[in-house]
């Protein structure tokens, strides 16, 4: 049991780093949003694993929260992306720098 949580945590960390790397490297906003989802799921996985390790329900409760939040985030995020595409005809994050300065 002890070794399995370490493996799961390692997997969650790996997924999280993958997500961050995706957010940093990707140019397309949709892929960045996807990467953020990966990060959220990584943290969810960590919560579930920790919950099962200490036999507490809190971990799963937190995962439900994260799931709900992720759903809301995706819907708002997609709506924003749609608007951005309407206005700028592009989803390239390097071209969208209007907030400079």
């Amino acid at each position: 049991m002890k070794s399995s949580i370490e493996i799961v945590m390692l997997l969650a960390g790996l997924l999280f780093v993958l997500g961050i790397a995706g957010v940093i490297i990707r140019k397309n906003i949709i892929f960045m949003l996807l990467s953020v989802e990966v990060m959220l799921n990584a943290s969810g996985l960590a919560f579930v694993a920790a919950g099962s390790r200490w036999a507490q329900p809190d971990g799963q409760v937190m995962f439900i929260f994260i799931l709900a939040m992720a759903a809301a985030e995706v819907s708002i995020g997609l709506a924003l992306i749609l608007q951005i595409y309407h206005q700028h005809k592009s989803l390239d994050i390097d071209k969208l720098k209007e907030m400079k300065g």
Partner: protein, 629 residues
């Protein structure tokens, strides 16, 4: 008769209200009738009350009438109470009587002025304030009148406001008297703190009980009150406003700067005489200020060429005599001189105003001359006024009042030979400059053609005042000469009797010396200005004399001194501070903020990648710190 008391101040106030609110819609005749009528009615009521007061003296020694409670704050409840005793009776009589004559004169003098109603409104308000000042039963009400008088003097000095010089003179008078007023206000605070009341009778009964003779608190209070009196009465060192105050119309000079307002300081000191008696040092200072002022102002009057400035300096000098008398403890003599001075100085100012108007607004006495036969009424009245000012022996009222002061300056308890000598020298100088003015204005050849002659409205008040300037002195005769003491017996109810030093019984010698100094002064001026005018020219060739002349002419350089000591540093500081020195600190704060913002704004690149990098790096740093520590 007691119940008529409230009418005395209310009538002029009603006149002021009517003229101030509806003056523009009234015809000139009505304005004059209301303006002069209100004060004249007061002047008629005063003798009615006065006769009642004298024939049936009230048991308490005073009439007092409470109109209403002004305000109530805990134990502090000053009332609007009018208080009439022998001292205020004299003042009320002089204010209303001379005020009424001056108002009647003004109706003629100001006849062609476009601001007729404004003039009378201000004059009425002035008379009201002055009456409030002398009738007040508590110091707070007195202070209200005191400030009202200051306000009116500002309004009336700057009456012809189109000329900026007049506005400057008005502001100067207002600001300089304000210095004294502030000191007086502090004095009132001290009195309230000590006695818990501002009612004058209470203070005067409590003071000798709570304070012992020579207590330092008594000295401080007396000096603060004195500072107030010095400001209003134009004594050293706050005398500089009065000569400039001559910018106002001549009746204003007569009413405010000669007969009534400037004597407010004399009234205050004699009203609070018990506090001054508790402090011999303060009383000595009063005497010294009086003596120094009469000396300095006398020499300045000698050099002026503007007829009104000569009179202004002589006013300062004569009030110096009153302060001298108050200081040596000759209370009644000071009030007597106040009354006589009010008669002859009002007369001189009004007559000077008539001369100035007849000569097309010419103020320079060297451009006058030869008016003796052309304006006979003015000449005779002016001559009587001058005789009284110069204290011409036996026939003029001024002799009786001034001689008394000179005698007490040596013989009274607080007197000493030096004060007497300065007073005598002052009397000599007074005779010189008065005669100089008379000769230059009325004798010699005519240098300016006269315009229109003064009408009846202007000459009748002059004649009445001349009558009093001659004969008012006979109500108080010296001890060795009739020994008639109507005036001082009246004032004895309020003011303590003058205590003489032991072994002083030779008043006659002093009278002869005073007589000689007056006659000597007249003779000297006669020689220099009439018989041998070339002597003056010869004197003027000497550099020393010329410098001395200029020094005296500038009023002993006091204006210059205050300019360098006070005005210039303040103007300099104002100039330095024009761009707000204190604000520089806060400007520094904004400057640093702007700089920081500029140097950090590059982080707001707008690139989402950078923000995420920042987040990640920050998270890594925090996590690694957590692990390492």
């Amino acid at each position: 008769m007691n119940n008529l008391l409230w009418l005395i101040p209310v009538l002029p106030f009603a006149g002021f209200l009517i003229l101030a609110l509806a003056g523009k819609h009234l015809s000139r005749v009505w304005v004059a009738l209301i303006g002069a009528g209100s004060v004249s009615l007061s002047a008629i009521i005063v003798p009615i009350i006065g006769i009642g007061f004298l024939s049936h003296p009230p048991a308490t020694g005073n009439y007092s009438q409470t109109l209403w409670t002004w305000m109530q704050v805990g134990d502090f409840n000053p009332k609007i109470t009018l208080f009439l005793d022998a001292l205020s009776l004299v003042f009320v009589f002089v204010i209303t009587f001379i005020g009424a004559l001056i108002h009647i004169y003004s109706a003629g003098f100001m006849a062609s002025d476009k601001d007729y109603s404004r003039f009378f409104a201000c004059m009425n308000l002035f008379v009201f304030s002055m009456l409030l000042l002398v009738l007040a039963d508590n110091l707070l009400l007195l202070y209200l009148g005191w400030e009202g008088v200051g306000l009116c003097s500002y309004l009336l000095i700057g009456f012809w406001y189109e000329n900026p010089v007049n506005g400057y003179a008005a502001r100067k008078a207002f600001i300089i008297t304000r210095i004294g007023d502030t000191a007086m206000a502090i004095g009132l605070f001290v009195i309230f703190y000590q006695f818990g009341t501002l009612a004058i009778p209470d203070i005067l009964t409590k003071a000798p009980v709570l304070w012992h003779q020579g207590a330092s608190i008594a000295t401080i209070t007396a000096l603060l009150l004195l500072a107030g009196g010095v400001g209003k009465s134009a004594q050293l060192p706050l005398q500089t406003w009065l000569p400039d105050a001559m910018a106002g119309p001549s009746p204003v000079s007569a009413l405010i700067h000669a007969a009534t307002m400037v004597t407010a300081g004399v009234y205050l000191i004699s009203r609070m005489h018990i506090i001054f008696q508790l402090s011999p040092i303060a009383q000595m200072i009063v005497a010294v200020i009086g003596a120094a002022t009469l000396f300095i102002a006398g020499f300045s009057a000698l050099t002026q060429y503007d007829i009104k400035r000569v009179l202004a300096y002589s006013t300062i000098s004569q009030i110096g005599y009153m302060f001298l008398a108050l200081g040596v403890g000759a209370w009644a003599a000071a009030i007597f001189h106040f009354m006589i001075h009010a008669f002859f100085k009002a007369l001189l100012f009004l007559a000077a105003g008539a001369v100035i108007e007849a000569l097309h607004h010419e103020h320079n006495i060297f451009k006058m001359g030869g008016l003796k036969n052309k304006l006979p009424v003015i000449f005779w009245t002016f001559l009587i006024g001058s005789a009284s000012l110069a204290a011409l022996p036996l026939i003029s009222a001024g002799f009786y009042s001034k001689d008394q002061i000179l005698w007490y300056a040596w013989a009274a308890e607080g007197g000493n030979p030096l004060l007497w000598f300065i007073g005598l020298l002052g009397a000599f100088i007074t005779a010189v400059y008065t005669t100089r003015m008379m000769i230059l204005v009325f004798w010699g050849e005519a240098k300016t053609e006269i315009g229109h002659r003064p009408g009846k409205l202007m000459t009748v008040p002059l004649i009445v005042l001349a009558f009093f300037s001659l004969f008012a002195g006979f109500i108080e005769l010296p001890h060795n000469f009739g020994h008639f003491r109507l005036f001082s017996d009246l004032l004895q109810q309020v003011l303590p009797e003058t205590i003489l030093k032991a072994g002083m019984n030779t008043e006659l010698q002093f009278q002869i010396l005073a007589l000689l100094s007056t006659l000597g002064g007249i003779y000297l001026a006669y020689v220099f200005y009439y018989k041998q005018p070339q002597r003056i020219e010869k004197l003027k060739q000497s550099r020393f004399v010329m410098n001395l002349y200029l020094f005296w002419f500038s009023g002993w350089g006091f204006d210059k001194l205050y300019n360098t000591l006070i005005v210039k540093p303040i103007v300099f500081m104002a100039n330095v501070n024009k761009n707000d020195v204190v604000d520089k600190l806060y400007q520094g704060v904004t400057f640093i903020t702007i700089r920081l913002y500029q140097s950090l704004s590059f982080t707001q690149s707008g690139s989402l990648r950078w923000y995420i990098m920042g987040l990640v790096i920050g998270a890594i740093i925090i996590l690694s710190m957590q692990i390492m520590l």
